[in-house]
Symmetry: D2
Subunit: 338 residues, 4 copies
Amino acid sequence: MTVRIAVAGASGYAGGELLRLLLGHPDVEIGALTAGGNAGAPLLAHQPHLLPLADRTLVETTAEHLAGHDVVFLALPHGHSAALAARLGEDTLVVDCGADHRLTDARSWERWYGGEHAGSWPYGLPELPGHRDALRTTRRVAVPGCYPTVSSLALAPAMGLVEPEVTVVAVSGTSGAGKAPKPNLLGSEVMGSLSAYGVGGAHRHTPEIAQNLSAVAGEPVGVSFTPVLAPLPRGILATCSATLKADAGDVRAAYEEAYADEPFVHLLPEGHWPTTGAVLGSNAVLLQVTVDHDLNRLVVVAAVDNLAKGTAGAAVQCMNLALGLPETTGLSTVGVAP
Amino acid sequence: MTVRIAVAGASGYAGGELLRLLLGHPDVEIGALTAGGNAGAPLLAHQPHLLPLADRTLVETTAEHLAGHDVVFLALPHGHSAALAARLGEDTLVVDCGADHRLTDARSWERWYGGEHAGSWPYGLPELPGHRDALRTTRRVAVPGCYPTVSSLALAPAMGLVEPEVTVVAVSGTSGAGKAPKPNLLGSEVMGSLSAYGVGGAHRHTPEIAQNLSAVAGEPVGVSFTPVLAPLPRGILATCSATLKADAGDVRAAYEEAYADEPFVHLLPEGHWPTTGAVLGSNAVLLQVTVDHDLNRLVVVAAVDNLAKGTAGAAVQCMNLALGLPETTGLSTVGVAP
Amino acid sequence: MTVRIAVAGASGYAGGELLRLLLGHPDVEIGALTAGGNAGAPLLAHQPHLLPLADRTLVETTAEHLAGHDVVFLALPHGHSAALAARLGEDTLVVDCGADHRLTDARSWERWYGGEHAGSWPYGLPELPGHRDALRTTRRVAVPGCYPTVSSLALAPAMGLVEPEVTVVAVSGTSGAGKAPKPNLLGSEVMGSLSAYGVGGAHRHTPEIAQNLSAVAGEPVGVSFTPVLAPLPRGILATCSATLKADAGDVRAAYEEAYADEPFVHLLPEGHWPTTGAVLGSNAVLLQVTVDHDLNRLVVVAAVDNLAKGTAGAAVQCMNLALGLPETTGLSTVGVAP
Amino acid sequence: MTVRIAVAGASGYAGGELLRLLLGHPDVEIGALTAGGNAGAPLLAHQPHLLPLADRTLVETTAEHLAGHDVVFLALPHGHSAALAARLGEDTLVVDCGADHRLTDARSWERWYGGEHAGSWPYGLPELPGHRDALRTTRRVAVPGCYPTVSSLALAPAMGLVEPEVTVVAVSGTSGAGKAPKPNLLGSEVMGSLSAYGVGGAHRHTPEIAQNLSAVAGEPVGVSFTPVLAPLPRGILATCSATLKADAGDVRAAYEEAYADEPFVHLLPEGHWPTTGAVLGSNAVLLQVTVDHDLNRLVVVAAVDNLAKGTAGAAVQCMNLALGLPETTGLSTVGVAP
C-alpha cells in the first residue's frame, strides 16, 4: 500500500520536518506541497536540506491543491484548519499540527486563543491513557503541542500519586517559535542569551497540559508552566515536579509500568539523565524520575525533539495508527549526535 | 589609595573574571597571580583576553606568594581556603570565591561537601537583609555561589508572603562548571543540547539557597532546586515560584521596596522580561515578578552573569565594602550585547 | 572637558555598542538618541543591556534632534549620512559608521553601492599609514567597515613583500548583518550552520579592502574576499594569505615594526593564535603571522570584535583623536571571556 | 544477505556516527562494539542517542573481539590500524576511518605523522576519478579525512582549468577534533569564539588534499590550507579558490559534468549557496562555483557533514561498494534542519 500525502505549510519548520520524515517512510508518496506567501517558490529555497525534493515547487494552500490525497498534513497558523478540513472529504485523513482542535472545552479555547472554537479532534498522543484506540479509527487528528507532549508524558504516570498541582519549567530551542522573522528570534539575540516568556500561566500550552493531566488524574490539576528560550535550534528539556501524596508508594515502578511497552517513551536507567542532544531528529522521549526526599517532591526530567516527536513525528505516528500501519513505521529512536 | 591585590586561581574562569574587573578598578594594583598545575605558564596562555597582563607569569599558589597584598582573592576548588587564609594575616582582606565558608551549619557542610567544616565567614550578598553591614568591617568574605545569588535575590522579598516551599529551575551557561576538561562539557556535547543535573535536591547550592531564604523568612524554607545546563558560556536564568499566602497583598510593591536603593538589582518595568544577554559582563541582576492567578502562585524570573555578579563581581563589590570604597567602584550595570 | 554626543540609529547594534562604550568614557555626556521606525519607544526595549540609560526614549532621526551636540555618531543605513551631516554645522564632529564616505573613487562607489557618490571623508583607521594625522584635525570621519578593518590591518605590513593579490576568507558572527529581521538570520537558521555569502568578489567590502591595501602598496592590489557566517553573535576571524616575493626578508619583523607602538593592534607571541573570544567587547586586534614554506606563502590570521574595534570602538577612537583626547580613552584591550 | 559488522572505537564520535548509520542499514547486523579506556561501560553511557543499542556493553578493542565479522570498521587514533587489520583475515572487509593508510607516499607519511608508513589502501572517495572501481574489489579501505573529502570534491573538477596552486579555508565544527577532553575544546571556550589552527600548511590533511588534487591534475598541486574552528558540533564549510588559466572555458559546465551522475555530490542551482545546516546527518556534499572576474579567480564553496560523508557515511558508502550493494544503501541526502 502506498498512500499519497500532501503537506500544507511545507515551507515552515513543521512542514520541513514532516517531509524529512515522510521521505524515509516506505509507504508514502509525497504529493502537493503548499504554502502561503512562499507559494511559487522552489521548495529548495526554503528547505535546502530536502535534496530529493529539489525539483518541487510550492503551490498555494487551497483545498483544491490538497484534494485527491489520502493524507493531508496541516502545518498552518491556528485558525486555518477547520475550514480547509471541511472541504477535504470525510475519508481523507487530516492530521493537524496546529492548535485548532486540541482543546475540548470551548470556553477554554475562547479564553486562550479567541474566536470561535472549531471543535476537538482525537488527540494525537497515543501514549496517554485512552488515546491510542481513538486514533486507530479517526480521519481527523489533532497533533499535540510540543510542550504538552513532553510535559504530559513526564507527569501522566504520577497522576494520583502527587498532589494535583504541578510545576513545569521547560527549556526550548528556537524552532518552536517558527520561521517568521521576529527581532527577538534573530541569531544575534538568542545566541548567548536565555529568556523566559509566557510566564505566570500566560502560555497557550498551559490549558492543554492541564487538560491532559486532569483527564488522567480524574480531577482538576493545576499547572504552573514556564517556557524558557535557549540558544539551540531544537529540543525541549522539561523539569517537572509535584509534591508526593503520603501514600505514593514506588513512583519509579509506576513509570516503568506505564511505559514498558511504549516504543518511543524511554525511562532511562537510574543514574542516566535525559539530554535533548540524544533525541535530535528522533521520535523518542527520554525520562528520568527521582524524589527529593527533603521535600517529599517528585522531580521528573524529560527530553524531546520539539519538531520530531513534539510535532511532525507525532503526526506520522498518528498517521500510521489511523492507516493501520505499524505505529513505528518511518520513525526512529536514534538521534543525531553530537 | 591604591590597594595591592593577589588572585589565587588566576588561570580559571573565576580568576580570569576577577582580573578583568580589577583591571578596570581605579584603586587597585594587580600583584601576584597564582595557579596550581598551570604555575610557570604565561598568564596569556590561559587568559588570552587580558592583554594588559600579557607579560605576567603564573606562580604557584602558596601563602608566601600571596603574602604582602592588601587583598587576596581565592578562586580555588573547595577545601583549600581555610588553611591558606590562616597564613595570610588577620588584617589581609581575604575574599573567597569558593564554597568553604558559605554554610553556617557544620552538619549541613558535612552532608553536602564532606570533611570538616572550616567555619563560616560573612556572606557576600550585601543585598540580602542584614549582610551589608557585616561586610563593611570584615577581613574575610565568603562569596556566594552563583545559583544562590540569583535565587536568593529573586525570592527574598517574597519571604513571608509565600508558603515556605519554593521551586527554582535555573538554566545556566557552561562556565559555572569551570575550566577542567570533562567529556560532558566539551563543546560538541553542550552545543545543541540541554541537560539537567543535580536533580532532586542533589546540587550543593540547595542548602545555601535554603539558608538564605530561611534567614529572611524567619522559618525553614524548603527549596526544590534543579539546575539545567544550556549551550552558552555565561549567564543564569532562574525561574522561581511559590504559592502565595492568602493575605500576601501587593507582591510587586514588596520587590520595589526591597530593591529601590540597590545599585545592582533591577526590577524591570512591567512587560519587560529578563534575559541573560542583557547582563553579560555586568554586575546587574534583572528581575521580573508576576502572579499566576489561576494557581495563586508567584513566579519570579531573574537573570545574572554567573561569573560577574554571580562570582567575581560580587567579590569586587564586597572588597569595596570592606575597604570603605564606594560599593559600585569598578563595577558596571552595562552588559555586552548582543 | 565634557563633550555632548548624540547617536543616530541608537536602536541598532552599532548604536548600542557606541552607547555601551560611551557610557564608560569619562569625557562624554550622552545627549539625543535617535531612531527611525523605533522612534518613540523606550531605549530599554531595544537595548536592555544599557541600564544606566533606562529612562531614555528614542526620538526621530532628524537634523533638529541631532543639532546642538559636539559630536554626532551616525549608525544608519548607507545613503543617509551626507544630507544629515550637511545640516549639522561644520564644527560639529560627525562620525559616520556607515559606508557613504569610505570609498574615494566615485566610480567605485557607483559600481558597488549605486547612486551618487557623496564624497569621501578621512578614513577612520589610524593604524594604517598616513591616516592618523588626518583624523586629528577633521570634523568628519568615515569609520571603516568591519571586514576592511581586520583585513587591512592583517595585510598592510606585508604590502611590498608579497605579490599584489591577496586572499581573505573572513568568518563572522551575525551581528554584522544588523538587527533587521531576515529569515536567514534567525537563530534557528544560523545556529548549527555555516554559510558563505557575497562570494566571488560580490561583497561591498571588497573595494574598500583593495583601496586600503593599494594605497599602502603603491600599486593596485587584487583582493579575493569571501565572508562566511558562523553561529556566534560577535567577532571576525580573518585568514589572509598572499605569495611572498622572492626577496621578502623577515616578514615577522615587518609586523613587529608596524605595530610596535599601536595600542590596539597586538602581534601575538609565536605559538599563540588569535581567537575572537579573546577580543569580545575589546578594541584590540590580535594578529599572528606565519609562512607556509612549501608554497612560499604568507598566512596571517587576525581577530577583531566587529562591533567594537570593527565599528563603534573605531568610532570612539577617532572621536578621541579629533577632539585631542588620548586616543585610548574609554577603550579597552580587555575582552569578556569566556 | 545480512553482513555482520563490528566497530572498533565505538565510544567516540566517528564510532557513534557509524552506528547511527548502520542502525538504518537494511543489510547489516551489528556485532561487537569495542573501545579502549571505555571498555566495560554500557554503550549508552557514551552514545545516549543510540537507544536501539541500549543493552550493549563496550568490550576491549582486540583482534579477538573483532574477529568473526564480515566487516570491521576501525575508528581509532592513527597508528593502530595496520596491526589490527593484519590479524583480521584477508577476506574480512576492513574500513579504516583513521589516517594510517591514506597517504601513498612513505616519506610524506613520515614527515606528517612520524613513525613507519603502514602502506596505503584504496582511498575511499569514489567520486574522485579512478577510485570507485578500486573500491569495488578491495577488502581494505582508507576512509578520507573530513577536510580532504570536501576540499578534493570542491576542486577536483577544476584541475587542469586552474593554475596548480589552490587556497582552502575550511571552517569546521568541533566534533572533528574528537571526544577526548581538551581545554580548548570546552563548550565555554568554543561557544562565542572562532580560532584558526594548523595554519601555514601545518595541518596533516594538507598532504592528503595535495595528493588527491595532484593525481587528478596530473601535476603537483600546491595547497594552502587553513582550518578554522567555529561554534557548532558538526559541519565543514570550505571556501576554495584558484586562479583560472587563460583558456579555462566554462568551469561550471566542468562541475556539472563531473557530478551529473553522482548520488551524493550536488552542484546547487545558480544563486543558491551551500550551508552546513542543510547536510547535517546527511551524506550529501553541496557545491556552488563562481568566478571572480576582477581577479579571474575560481571560487568554490562546499558544505559537508564531517562525521557523515566526511567520515562514517563515506565508510558505509565504501562498504556498500566493496560488498556489491547499491552504493547508496543506508545513506541519505536528507539533512536534519533546522
